[in-house]
Subunit: 243 residues, 2 copies
């Protein structure tokens, strides 16, 4: 059974403000929940159609029926279970490796894909501007497929964060009209910034960037849309790692 | 106004079977419709809240109200207009360049992103297995942002298509355990195959592939999910083009 208070809590966690207030987030589906448990994420409570699929203390497990799951799920097709986890503490950012920074990425699907890419390319620290979509947004959690447990994600005032780092690390940013990424020397330790879906990197942050890079376009048409930020991130991280 | 028959036609076009039968597809939103018109796609009819935004013959234009648009739109937030276009004829595939082939890619968002990538990287021919999601699916059309007009997309029996080409062109396929794509010589003229979201490249097609390639993983974790097919395509096309 799900109590009225539990329902209220779960619904509230679809809003960033209440996630922050409670220090909790929601994950759904057997696979995602299992990955989060295996990675050592601290469980608050779990609501499941089938209590046999998770090996967890019974004190935080609640057996529910399909109707109840439908009421608390944010998915169009609810899966077998919904869990509430504690938001882990952010670790200190270390500067001895490649760091990815996002300036105001708004789409949860894009952020989810980018977190998976960080996991693939061994990027330990992902820095997000305060305006970037919250990584504990349920849509992001579903899109990351558990890789959120292997990437340390920090929300910061990006301009302030970068200001200290210039001089210590090379700062790269992606632009429509920068230097070809193929021609640039891409160091192992650096910060690389990807911008907002519609507007790219903000003016404030642009001023701090030393190296403006671009993924060359091979199609001839002027009408071609710029690459989506998630696919551009895939190419940029691949370029840094291959070199 | 939208007549009963027009409504019926539009609704039917959300199904592949009827798109094929009528030779028509639906596009929504000012930007997408404008791009399709500018690229010379043949218009069947257009339903719009504001008849001033498109420069088209009045005989195929219908002014409608918000309520009517909501009834015919497949978007959660309907935009200003919905258009029906004729599906263009597929051109013959030419073999003197890099060709991308998809083996059973099912997600419309992934196909849309891949078509945009083809446009960016100047890939003229995209070959899709018959099981791949239809490129005139409304979700694909919305995701391509008009780049569908600059890529020639053919649906084929992929095994049969490839069987003739082996010997003429080098055939590459992406696998979890192939050779590092960084170490392979990637020719300007070739076919490169991407597989299904869950199962990769099918057994039948695997047998024909001469060069099994892989995007190296840099993260240490075994739990890391494989890259999403759209982000993997971004990296693969970038690797072929940069070399």
């Amino acid at each position: 059974m799900v109590s009225k208070n539990q329902k209220k809590l779960i619904k509230s966690l679809y809003q960033k403000k209440y996630r922050k207030q409670h220090g909790l987030f929601v994950a759904e589906g057997k696979k995602v929940i299992k990955e989060l448990l295996e990675a050592g994420m601290k469980l608050h409570s779990l609501f499941t159609l089938d209590p046999n699929i998770f090996d967890i203390p019974t004190s935080c497990e609640y057996e529910i029926n399909k109707e109840e799951l439908k009421q608390i799920s944010f998915l169009t097709t609810p899966q077998v279970a919904l869990a509430i986890f504690y938001i882990p503490e952010t670790k200190k950012v270390t500067l001895d490796h490649l760091i990815l920074a996002l300036d105001d990425v708004r789409d949860p699907g894009n952020l989810g894909t980018i977190i998976r890419l960080c996991d693939w390319f061994g990027i330990k620290d992902l820095i997000c501007s305060d305006q970037t979509v919250d990584c504990y947004n349920p849509k992001v959690i579903q899109a990351t497929m558990g890789s959120i447990t292997r990437v340390n994600i920090s929300y910061v005032d990006l301009k302030e964060f970068l200001t200290d780092k210039v001089g210590v690390l090379k700062v790269f940013g992606t632009f429509m009209d920068g230097n070809s990424i193929y021609a640039e020397e891409l160091p192992e330790q650096a910060i690389v910034i990807m911008g907002n879906e519609a507007n790219g990197i903000s003016k404030d942050v642009q001023d701090i960037i030393e190296h403006q890079i671009t993924i060359p376009q091979f199609g001839a048409s002027k009408e071609t849309e710029s690459l989506n930020v998630a696919t551009a991130t895939a190419i940029v991280l691949n370029e840094f790692r291959r070199s």
